[in-house]
């Protein structure tokens, strides 16, 4: 069973739940940017939640199937089309041998997850099939898909039913403005109280540069720093620190102007101060933000962050129950 790539879209990559455990060596987590949607796509086609799928951003690929398959598309509202006939998202549907899966224009969200019954079969590298394009690691030859590629599909583990669907209340997309909950971080003391207040009060906008490495935001007031003599080892800009580890979700603000939230393909360390960290429960939402989308950072404490994580687990349980 093979899938032939006719048109790859803008940047379509093989992703699973990621490659944790090597970030301290500079190898990022990778994996789907909206892992909730990735899990949902897999569950719909009878795969393990962490099977490899295709992540398409802003624009869908065009794929020709060599044999019959059950497919589901979740995440962004990127309407799938089988030989030109529109299919519902968040729903399992059939693609017959010889048919082509294409996509209509993106309606909302940013990243769609295309799961095929059996999963995309690429070699496992350091415990994951996810693509890390900067490191040319994992996925299909360590890169985004190109026209002419042939993808193998794994053996079918579980039966899947056409028409199986995820209820609307379990389809999660960011609001407008998107609200991203943040725990203020270790370097919070570097900015003035007024800057800290402004950071949470301002409405930011997603910059067009935002990608799998980091999501950049523009349009808020520049952050004002508490004056200090830069310590030995730190750069001369007040936003510089002595090099430190960058957590997944951390928000660095180079020059105090444009916050960047590090995401699945992030660098693991460097010399910019971090104003805080987006909580794990909201990282999936970032993966669904289009350029120019308004966004607000919402302050929470650790207790709030843990509660949100708990709520998120409960939502995942509902998702699992919904497809059984």
């Amino acid at each position: 069973m093979a899938i032939k790539v006719i048109n790859p879209g803008l940047s379509t990559t093989v992703q699973d739940l990621g490659r944790p455990g090597y970030y301290h060596l500079g190898i990022p987590l990778s994996g789907g940017m909206d892992r909730f949607a990735l899990r949902a796509a897999n569950l719909l086609v009878g795969n393990d939640e962490g099977a490899a799928v295709l992540e398409a951003v802003f624009m869908g690929p065009e794929l020709q199937f060599a044999s019959d398959a059950i497919v589901a598309v979740t995440g962004a509202e990127l309407p799938p089309k089988v030989d030109g006939n529109v299919q519902p998202t968040w729903t399992a549907f059939k693609v017959k041998a010889g048919q082509t899966l294409g996509f209509d224009f993106l309606k909302s969200g940013a990243r769609a997850y295309i799961a095929v019954q059996g999963g995309i079969d690429v070699p496992v590298v350091l415990g994951s099939r996810s693509t890390y394009t900067l490191g040319a690691l994992g996925g299909h030859e360590g890169r985004k898909l190109a026209a002419g590629d042939a993808l193998k599909v794994g053996g079918v583990a579980k039966a899947a039913k056409e028409g199986r669907s995820i209820p609307a209340n379990l389809r999660r997309l960011p609001g407008n403005p998107a609200e991203l909950r943040v725990v203020p971080g270790l370097y919070w003391h570097r900015i003035t109280d007024a800057a800290g207040t402004g950071f949470f009060a301002d409405t930011w906008k997603v910059a067009p540069e935002a990608d799998r490495i980091g999501y950049r935001f523009k349009g808020g007031k520049p952050l004002e720093f508490v004056p200090r003599k830069q310590p030995f080892g730190a750069g001369s800009d007040p936003s510089n620190i002595v090099d430190a580890c960058y957590p997944y979700g951390s928000i660095q603000v180079p020059g105090g102007t444009e916050p960047i939230v590090l995401h699945r393909d992030a660098v693991s360390g460097g010399g910019y101060f971090m104003v805080g960290t987006v909580i794990s429960a909201d990282m999936d939402l970032i993966g669904q933000l289009q350029p120019h989308t308004p966004a607000k950072f919402v302050k929470v404490d650790m207790k709030g962050a843990l509660q949100a994580r708990h709520d998120r687990q409960a939502l995942l349980q509902k998702l699992r129950a919904a497809v059984n």
Partner: protein
């Protein structure tokens, strides 16, 4: 039946290949299938917007550096 060129991607629209160069197409210019009419910048890459129809551009709906959505009409053709 009016024909339109739609943006394939969300991002920032540019009518010129570079700031110091002329626009790809003016209103009133004719276009062939595959002609570039602008760029959409997203994820640090500039993606050419190509006409999927042949005709004459009667109106642009997006100006240089406008934010555009996927599927948004960029130009009317006749």
């Amino acid at each position: 039946m009016a024909k339109q060129i739609l943006s394939p991607l969300p991002g920032t629209f540019y009518r010129r290949p570079a700031p110091d160069q002329p626009v790809y197409k003016n209103e009133g210019d004719s276009v062939a299938v595959g002609d570039v009419i602008g760029l959409v910048e997203v994820m640090k890459s500039f993606n050419e917007v190509k006409s999927t129809e042949a005709g004459k551009i009667v109106k642009f709906h997006a100006e240089n550096e406008d934010a555009v959505m996927a599927g948004q009409p960029l130009a009317d053709l006749e």
